[in-house]
């Protein structure tokens, strides 16, 4: 398990590094928002879910996608706009989909996915399955009206929803102190009578433990749960935006003990000794290069099919 989880975080990390490089090289276009530094949250949550459970993601969704589906090829091909992409090239970075694996899409609208996640939770309740619905969102999104409406509604209907706030301290260039009047999002959960937990989102062990609790609570029909995960966005917000955060702050968060991968490795020196990690790194790199080749070799979707399938008139 430990190796597996580490490998998943590593896959996300290397995926994002590779993407960044190719994006800068002009190999593909569109907006990309990198997940580097937040890997433990996606991996920790998804470690407790099955393919039947649902994940709703955000604009910063590559990590969620990989953690839920393990589909590196589909993800890269999607970024390239290829027909082998997980959304057949129609979605791109912000709209990866894989409903067969329970991945219900990213979202280009901040806070836009929270109401959608209610629906999957509702469907589980309606059919009497024990599926759960997980929605990721940033601390910035927690100030959108949809957050409030959805949490109240989830609580009223006791829906099996896990709301995961990734508090990475910034919304684009705005620091959390200027966006969120009380940074402690669990207080918002309290206001609706929703159970919650705050965790160090960069410590996979903590996240897994919290995710276990949340999933158990929700699967047993006790209604929604909120997880407040403290983390940090290491990269700039996205491709085009200048990043002028304080250097010492950046340095602080890049220290080994604050990096989710290093932190997890330090906790498991035996299972994740340097030989093992080196081997994993080789594996993951190989897998990603394979996926890059796959994406490059794939074709673009055909305009003719497009018209047939989607045109209304």
């Amino acid at each position: 398990m430990i190796k597996k989880y580490y490998k998943r975080m590593l896959t996300i990390r290397y995926f994002e590094e590779r993407i960044k490089q190719m994006y800068r090289g002009g190999e593909f276009f569109g907006a990309i928002h990198l997940y580097i530094g937040q890997e433990a949250i996606a991996v920790g949550l998804c470690s407790q879910l099955s393919d039947n459970d649902y994940v709703f993601s955000t604009h910063r969704g590559h990590g969620h996608y990989l953690a839920k589906t393990h589909d590196t090829k589909g993800a890269i091909a999607e970024l390239f706009g290829k027909e082998t992409g997980c959304s057949h090239g129609y979605g791109g970075s912000m709209h990866m989909f894989n409903p067969l694996k329970g991945f219900m899409g990213g979202n280009g609208i901040v806070g836009g996915g929270i109401p959608l996640a209610l629906g999957a939770a509702f469907s589980a309740q309606y059919r009497g399955t024990n599926e759960v619905s997980v929605v990721f969102f940033g601390e910035g999104a927690s100030n959108q009206g949809t957050f409030h409406e959805s949490l109240n509604l989830a609580a009223l209907k006791k829906l099996p929803l896990i709301a995961v706030c990734e508090n990475n301290r910034y919304a684009a260039t705005t620091p959390v102190a200027l966006s969120t009047s009380d940074e402690d999002i669990t207080k918002r959960a309290d206001a609706y009578g929703i159970k919650s937990l705050s965790v160090n989102g960069n410590d996979l062990t903590e996240v897994i433990a919290a995710a276990k609790k949340a999933v158990k609570h929700v699967r047993s029909g006790n209604g929604p749960f909120l997880l407040d995960c403290k983390t940090y966005r290491v990269e700039p917000h996205c491709g085009i935006i200048a990043d002028k955060r304080p250097e010492d702050e950046l340095a602080q968060w890049q220290k080994p003990e604050n990096d989710p991968l290093n932190c997890y490795q330090a906790q498991h020196p035996k299972e994740l000794n340097s030989a093992t990690v080196a081997a994993l790194e080789t594996d993951v790199k190989y897998e990603i290069e394979e996926a890059v080749e796959f994406a490059r070799a794939s074709s673009f979707p055909k305009v003719e099919n497009f018209i047939k399938e989607f045109a209304v008139q």
């Binding site: 959304s87 057949h88 709209h95 959805s150 109240n152 399938e309």
Partner: protein
């Protein structure tokens, strides 16, 4: 034929469709209590229970999104806005989520949501925030179908068609029609989306009347000698252009009557398509008679002034009929 009201006809459609398909459920404010504020959900709660008749807080964004997410998982929600005017608070969930999820997923998810815009209409002195007919907003956004039944029969047949359709359908109701009894056939029937209806045949002028305007035009016809071909498009997106063009081939003259403001409305769209596809049929400039470009005021004489009245329509038709090339 038996006569029932527009609202009861829709209520029948809901009962039938919920019986037929256990994935159909209704969601909206007050739908679970006393049959809903318009009586549109009469006896649904008693018959289908609270898992399928879902009352909500006043949280239109959240419950619209809930419907979309449920649809992604295979359910078929019928979602209610108490008045169409309230849709402003949920436009993102409707237009960026519901309308686009199918294509953004590369076709992997379907969003068979029926979105009932209840209480649309004018003339009851409800002022600027309760008097809008916003079909053009949705016709402008790819991904929706938009229907506007103007009779009890169509309200039932189109609601059933909407619920069975795999695309999101904006279903726009008119509050002035809710409680009038009209002939509606017994039992199952569907009015296909995309099919207009020739309400009256005629040879001088084609009048396309959007939604409630159908009734105003019928009254106006009593005041004019002209031979009018009256078309109720019933679906405003996609439009039944063959029906309209065939009629124009005969009459050469087009008047569109609508309650929405004319600017960028359905009438403008009909004109755009008509001139593009049937320019040679036209004997005179097509005209849209719509709401004036002013938010609807409360006071009776002002409201009446802002909306096309029966007399205005009759006058326009007579002038049109007289028009010589």
């Amino acid at each position: 034929m038996r006569k029932i009201t527009y609202i009861d006809a829709m209520n029948e459609a809901l009962h039938e469709e919920m019986q037929r398909d256990e994935n159909v459920f209704v969601i909206g404010e007050d739908v679970d209590i006393d049959g809903g504020v318009w009586n549109e959900c009469y006896k649904l709660m008693e018959t289908f229970g609270k898992q399928r008749v879902v009352g909500t807080p006043i949280s239109e964004s959240a419950f619209s999104g809930l419907a979309a997410g449920a649809a992604m998982c295979g359910l078929r929600p019928v979602l209610e806005f108490m008045y169409m005017d309230f849709v402003g608070v949920a436009m993102d969930q409707l237009c960026n989520q519901i309308a686009k999820l199918h294509i953004m997923s590369g076709g992997q998810v379907k969003i068979p949501v029926t979105i009932r815009m209840c209480g649309t209409g004018t003339g009851s002195r409800e002022a600027a925030q309760h008097s809008q007919s916003l079909e053009a907003w949705f016709a402008h956004i790819p991904g929706f179908k938009v229907v506007m039944p103007a009779t009890a029969k169509d309200s039932k047949g189109l609601l059933k068609a909407a619920i069975r359709d795999d695309s999101p359908v904006i279903f726009i109701e008119n509050r002035n029609l809710y409680y009038e009894k009209e002939p509606v056939p017994e039992g199952e029937f569907i009015v296909p989306i995309g099919q207009g209806e020739i309400v009256r045949e005629g040879t001088d002028v084609t009048v396309v009347a959007v939604a409630y305007s159908r009734h105003k035009v019928l009254k106006a016809l009593e005041m004019t000698e002209a031979s009018v071909e009256l078309i109720d498009p019933r679906t405003v997106d996609p439009l039944d252009m063959p029906l309209i063009l065939d009629s124009l081939a005969k009459t050469g003259k087009l008047l569109v009557v609508q309650e929405a403001t004319s600017e960028c409305g359905i009438g403008a769209e009909i004109v755009r398509q008509v001139v593009e596809k049937g320019f040679d049929y036209l004997d005179c400039p097509p005209v849209v008679l719509g709401g004036k470009n002013i938010p609807t005021p409360f006071s009776a004489p002002l409201e009446d002034h802002v909306l096309p009245q029966v007399e205005d329509i009759a006058e326009k038709i007579t002038a049109f009929a007289k028009y010589q090339i």
